[in-house]
Symmetry: none
Subunit: 204 residues, 4 copies
DNA sequence: GATGAATGAGTCTTCATTCAT
DNA sequence: CATGAATGAAGACTCATTCAT
C-alpha cells in the first residue's frame, strides 16, 4: 500500500470510529486495531489525534465546496423556475450529506460524541419534542387545519430542526443580544404555517 | 450552605463549564475551582463525573416535562384559532430553551462538546451553509420570488436547521432504510416554499 | 450510653468488620454504619484508625496474659501428671482463642486481611496441602502404618500448621541463617511420627 | 529486555515489595521505582495491581503443583519405608517453600500484609506463645518427662503452628459447627506427646 | 459530647506520543 | 517506512481526618 492509500485508509477507519463513538471515546488503539497497522504508523501520516480529526473535517468541507461549485455550474438559471431551483438546491444538499453517513454523523453531532449513555438521554429528549410536534400535527389534521398530504415524520423533524437551530442561534450563539420572542415566533409561524395548513378560501 | 443549596451550586457551576467547554474538556478540577469547594465535596453529592452530567440532563428533561404540561393546561382549545395555538406552542418552546442558555447549549450540542478548535471548524461549515441559503434568499428577493418581509437571518437558520435534522434523521438515525430523495425533497419544498415565496395570483 | 460503653461498642463493631474484611478493606464509613454513630464520634474515642486497631490487638494480648496467669495459678504441679499438664495447657489455649472468633481471625490471619478474591486463592493452596497430607495419612492407614484412631481432619491441619509455621520461622523470620534441611526434617519426623504411626513391636 | 523477561522482572520486584510491605502498603510507585520502569509499563503487562498480585499467587501454585507431581514421580513406594516416605515428603515441602522466601512470606502471611507496626504487635503475641511453649518444654526436660534431644526452638514452633492452624480451622473456618474441645485436645495431646515425651518402660 | 459536611493528600489508571530497532 | 514497547503527564476517585455547629 503506498503512502497516499495508507493515509486514506487510516482516515477511513478513524472516520468510522469517530462517527460511532465520538472523538474522545475513540482511542488511537481503536484506530490502529481497525486499520490493522502499528501504533507508530499513525504518527507517520498525522501529527497527532487532533490532526487526524481535523483532516477529516477539512476534507469534508473541501468536498462540500467542490460539490456546491459543481452544482451551481450545472444550473442554468434562465431555464428553471425559482421553485425548481430550490428543489435542486435542497436535493443536492441532502445528496451530499447522504453520501457519507459517518461524516454526516460527526458534523451534525446529534446524539453522538459523548458516551452512548448520554446520547440515549439526549435522544430521549429529542424524541419527546418530535412526538409532541407530531401529535400537534395529527390534531391539526383531525380538526381539518393541517394538510392531509403532509408526511408527519418528515414535517416534525423539519420543525424540530428549525426550532433547535433557531434556539441555538439566538440563545447560545448570539448570547447577550436582546431577543424579541414574539417577533421571532411570528416570523416562524408565518414561514411554517402556509406550507402546513390547509388553504382556506377566505379570511384565513 | 445546606445540602440542597450546595448540590444546586455544584450543578450550576458544572453546567456552566460543560456548556462552555464540553463534557471531556471540563475537569473535576475546573468544577471545584469554579465552585470554590474541595475535591471530595463533589463526590459527596454525586457518584462521579458522569452522574453529575446525567443529573444535569435529567433535571432539564424534568423541567421540560413540567413546562409542557403547564402550558397545555393553560390553553383553552375552544377559544383560540389553530394559528394562535401554533404560535403559543412555538413561543413557549423557545421561551423554555431561552431560560437556560447553558443547558440549551449542552442539549442542542451545536458546536459544543469537543475542543474549541473543532467547534470553530464545524461552525465554519455551518456558517457556509447559512450564507448559501441567505444568498439564495436574497437572490429570490431580487428576482421577486421571495417575500420581502422575510427576516433572512431567521429564515436561513430555520431552513438550515430543518435540513440538518432531516439529514441526520434519514441518513444517520434511520440508516439502512431506503430513502427516496426526490420524494423527500418535494415534501420539504412544499412545506417551506409557501411561507417564503411571494404568492402569485395564478399558475405559481 | 456512657463513654466506657460507647468505646467498647465501637471496638466491638470494628472488630467484627476487621475480622471479616481485613484492616484495609474496612473503612471508617463501615464502622460508623455498623455502630450507628457519627463519623466524628470515632475520633472522640480513638486517635485514628490505627489506634482503633492497635487497641483491639492490645486488649487481646492483655486478655491473653491474664488468661495464662490465671491458668497457671490454678495448676497444682505436684498433683497432676506431665501429660495432664500438657492437656490442660493446650485446652486452655484453644479455649481462649475460641472465646473470640473475630480476634482469632484477625490475629491468626489465615486467609483474611486482603481481598476476598486473594483469600480464596490462598485458601485454595492451603486446601491442596491439607488434602495431600490427608491422602498420605489415608494411605498410611491402608498400609497399616498409621493408627486407625487418628482424626484425619485434625491431624492434617496439625501437620500443615506445623509445617507452615516452621517454614515461616526458618525461611522468612530467620532469613540469612544457614538451615540444615535434613536435620530439621529429621526432627519434625521424629516428633510427628510416634504420635501418628502404629507402634511396631520390633525393628520399626 | 524482551516481553517475557520484562514481565518476569516486574513480577520479581513486585513480589519482593509485597513480601516486605504487604499488598496495600506496596504502591505502584514503589514497584516502578524498584523495577526502574515507567508507570505505564506495569499496565502493559498487567491489567492492574490486583492482576499483578494474583499472577504472583497463581505462579506460586502452579510451581507447587509441578513440584509435587515431580516429587511423587521420583518416589518408588516399594523401595522405601513409610518413615522414609514421610521424611521425603516433608523435606520436599520445606525445600519448595525455602526456594522462594518472598512468596513464602506472602502466602503464609504471618506477620506480613499490614503495617510494620501491626506486624510487630502480632509477632509479640506469637513470641509470647512460643516462649510459653518453650519454657514448658524446658520444664519437661528438667523433670525428665521430655526427651533431651528435642530442639526446643523447632518443637515450640511446631506446636504453636499446629495450635494456631487448628484454632483457625475449628473456630474461624468451621464457624458454627459444634466443637468438642476435650476430644480435640485429647487428639492433639495423643499426637504430640509420643514424639516429645521420654518413653517410659511401664505405667506411662 | 455528638454530628456529618468538608477537606485534600494520596492512589490508581489511562492513553496520546515517542523512539530505538 | 513500519513497528510496538516504553513513557509519563494528566485525571478521576478514595477515604482518613478535621472542625464548626
Amino acid at each position: 500500500m503506498n503512502a497516499e492509500a495508507r493515509k486514506a485508509h487510516i482516515l477511513k477507519c478513524a472516520k468510522k470510529l469517530f462517527a460511532e463513538h465520538g472523538y474522545y471515546k475513540t482511542q488511537i488503539s481503536d484506530i490502529i486495531r481497525e486499520a490493522k497497522i502499528a501504533r507508530g504508523t499513525v504518527y507517520q501520516y498525522f501529527e497527532n489525534k487532533d490532526d487526524l480529526f481535523v483532516t477529516l473535517l477539512e476534507n469534508f468541507y473541501a468536498d462540500w465546496e467542490k460539490a456546491v461549485a459543481l452544482n451551481l455550474k450545472e444550473i442554468d438559471l434562465d431555464k428553471i423556475s425559482a421553485k425548481q431551483y430550490i428543489f435542486y438546491r435542497i436535493k443536492n444538499t441532502l445528496k451530499f450529506l447522504q453520501s457519507d453517513r459517518d461524516l454526516c454523523s460527526i458534523v451534525l453531532r446529534m446524539g453522538v460524541g459523548l458516551h452512548k449513555d448520554f446520547d440515549l438521554l439526549i435522544q430521549r429528549f429529542e424524541a419527546k419534542i418530535l412526538n409532541l410536534i407530531a401529535s400537534d400535527l395529527e390534531l391539526g389534521i383531525r380538526y381539518g387545519n393541517v394538510r392531509t398530504d403532509i408526511n408527519i415524520e418528515l414535517a416534525s423533524n423539519l420543525i424540530a430542526g428549525a426550532l433547535f437551530r433557531l434556539s441555538y442561534h439566538y440563545f447560545v450563539y448570539k448570547k447577550g443580544v436582546h431577543i424579541d420572542l414574539d417577533a421571532i415566533t411570528t416570523q416562524i409561524v408565518n414561514i411554517i404555517i402556509p406550507g402546513i395548513f390547509v388553504e382556506r378560501k377566505k379570511k384565513s
